[in-house]
Subunit: 191 residues, 2 copies
Amino acid sequence: MKKVLLFVTDGFADWEASYVTAELNKSWTDYQVQTVAIDKDPKVSMGGLTVLPDYSMDDVPQGFSMLILPGGTTWREEKNQQVKKLVEDCFRKNIPVAAICDATTFLGIHGFLDHHKHTGNSLPYLKEGAPHYRGEDHYIDEQSVRDNGLITANGTAALEFTRNVLRELQVYDEKELQEWYALFKKGSVHS
Amino acid sequence: MKKVLLFVTDGFADWEASYVTAELNKSWTDYQVQTVAIDKDPKVSMGGLTVLPDYSMDDVPQGFSMLILPGGTTWREEKNQQVKKLVEDCFRKNIPVAAICDATTFLGIHGFLDHHKHTGNSLPYLKEGAPHYRGEDHYIDEQSVRDNGLITANGTAALEFTRNVLRELQVYDEKELQEWYALFKKGSVHS
């Protein structure tokens, strides 16, 4: 099985990566989702779930297939900046990175968006809060953007984010993807 | 703080209660979400998150405000039928119950839907698999139904499920609810 790592923090947004992890982890895919965090201490989600991380920064497994960064309430805390090195490793090794909501802002602050098309509704914050941010010209007003191994999305775009991740990892063909998306976007009854 | 309990099982569907737990747990509500399970062993979600339950069937806190039952892959396993007693307690004490996807089927199998309007896309299974199921006349072809302290939903209706729970617990007024729903249904950019 190919591993996909989900980075969990205290206050991570439950819904943002919820569709994509469940879909990737289904028995017919080549992927297995596991969690990684700054350390092995339990992390409590925004919705109150206490999650035990599978890995910490000290024992990240080799050869994983994607790093997923959900948003949340603690992306601006000092300790969570430690994930920067893991993200750098991914970019260097051409491992895809998928970030949603505040995790996209995190990428912008650290310069990871400077050379990639991206979205994320934090552009004003980035322009004011990150003096070195040079990704403005690459900003695209879409719910989710996929560009050269980088996927970004707004916090209200969990489904569009998932569709781009499934596309990147070639889990479904385009027709299956559209059916999957329509089912969850419009509902099974009135689609 | 008033407690809302989320029942977690192995294979629980990450997305189905993800919006509602995060919204209920926000600092400005009167509610706190905690997890309950058959026992205190960690439960692994469909998407691969290892969750440590706050409570087991042996130490369910008194006086909680709602029981939320997300769907998942193990609702038909024998051990998970143990939650039936907790559900009975809720119905007897008029504590609202909110069930989505396979958890709705669970309620039907055990007769909890017989006297409530409900939805859930498992009607064929219920008719075949549950000889005592008498809720057919109450079935409504909607993404989510709220009726007299019981909320049900299809697995593709996490947002509609959330809206009904927030309505039941009077977290937002109707105008705020519609804004919340539009934001997440249509997205922040193109709404």
